[in-house]
Amino acid sequence: MGLRKKTKKTAQTIKKATKKANIVPTLAPKPTFELKVGLAQMLKGGVIMDVVNAEQAKIAEQAGAVAVMALERVPSDIRKEGGVARMSPPELVEKIMSSVSIPVMAKCRIGHFAEAQILEALGVDFIDESEVLTPADDEYHIYKHSFKVPFVCGCKNLGEALRRIGEGAALIRTKGEPGTGNVVEAVRHLRQIAQDIKRVRMLDESELMTEAKNLGAPFELLMKVKKLGKLPVPNFAAGGVATPADAALCMQLGAETVFVGSGIFKSESPEKFAKAIVKAVAGFDRPEEVLAASRNLDAAMRGLEIKTLPQEELMAERGW
């Protein structure tokens, strides 16, 4: 009886709290993992752009972005200003959601499932559990299978990618050093994953368990990678992409879509850069088309040499 009373009271409290926060709990059944990966499939062959307000979101949509990432500050500003970087305010994300018809993504801190719950209640289409924000948990990531909304996570190698997929990520991206305008880390991660996959394909079944141990990857997912010859979810590039040529490079190295953060709205002509990068991704396999996309652009964002960054400022090191 006591327990029942308590449960009833808790339910009322939750109801009250959700009403206050304007959260409408939906009764729809939880989607399968495949439905979440489905949206990632729809975003292939495109450009996802970081935006900090509704005007930028509209520019991105007009330029042909497949989705936008709603942020309070782009990574280069986060890097410059320092301090704790958190989830963006709900009003900002909401404004961006109502200004465009394409999917809207938003970032939460690594391990911060309460931020993720808020973003899900807000109705964002994808959550990026991102190293760009200050991690909230230095040991664990979010258990993403318990959410209805799909997640994207960054990774530097196959082991990290499969740990995130094991936790429920429906999309994987590289962890190129954000806000630097320097593509070297994204390239390293794309190549690393490709090499790790090649190796797994060569190994026979009896060698896979030790490989799983060495990579820190779930065995069943490693078996799947061996069978498929690629990741079981789409693989996008992110971090440091600043020019049409950078985007074409990532696509040729096997990325299926490109995230562009500071590269567009920190360039001298965001509109031109946005359109040019969309064109470069669409025609990435034809140098003459990437050339055409690269013409008559103003200055790209100013880049940072990653070796000059102190170790503790390297965002790619975040994630476990």
Binding site: T26, A28, P31, L39, Q41, M42, G45, G46, A67, A282
Partner: protein, 182 residues
């Protein structure tokens, strides 16, 4: 038989296993020259606003209209938006290949995406649009939640759902489309 898939952006590769299971070949279609030799064209899921920009970029608007007179088209989700007569929520340009209106994102956002069985085959509705104001020549092949989701008109057809994401090959919809071609 060569079946083209408009490969400007979006969900292209998952069609391959269905098309190959039918003994046909998938041809990626981006540029005007890719339309030669295909006997049907799938306009896949993805983002219709992006596809419109890229149709302009690759200068294939007229080619798409021209080939619609010759070969069957199948628009899936974003593809159905491209094929519509009119598009709402918001308004945008379309090829006008079938007599129907399409309202974008009518079921809501990704958290409202759902799975359903159509003709006992599992399919996904992902940020799906709604087909409205169907013309007299349109034939509703399937409905769900009271809304038409699979419609044919002459040699063309649209589905607002994705059968290509399901694993059992070939999907009955790919099979139906292949029969329309031959």
């Amino acid at each position: 038989m060569k079946i083209g898939v408009l490969a400007l952006q979006g969900c292209v590769e998952p069609h391959r296993k269905h098309i190959e299971a039918l003994g046909a070949e998938l041809v990626e279609v981006r540029r005007a020259e890719d339309f030669k030799n295909i006997s049907g064209l799938i306009l896949p899921g993805g983002e219709s606003t992006t596809m419109l920009k890229l149709i302009e970029h690759f200068q294939i608007w007229d080619v798409l209209k021209e080939y619609a007179e010759k070969i069957p088209y199948w628009g899936i989700c974003a593809g159905s938006i491209l094929m519509a007569l009119r598009v709402t929520n918001p308004k945008q340009k379309s090829l006008g290949l079938m007599h129907l209106d399409v309202e974008r994102n009518s079921y809501g956002r990704q958290v409202d995406s759902f799975e359903e069985k159509i003709d006992s085959y599992p399919v996904s509705f992902i940020r799906a649009p709604l087909l409205k104001k169907l013309g007299k020549a349109c034939q509703v092949k399937a409905s769900t939640k009271g809304n038409p989701v699979w419609v044919t008109e002459g040699k063309h057809m649209v589905t607002t759902f994705h059968p290509e994401l399901s694993l059992k090959t070939p999907s009955p919809f790919h099979k139906y489309f292949a029969e329309k071609i031959s």
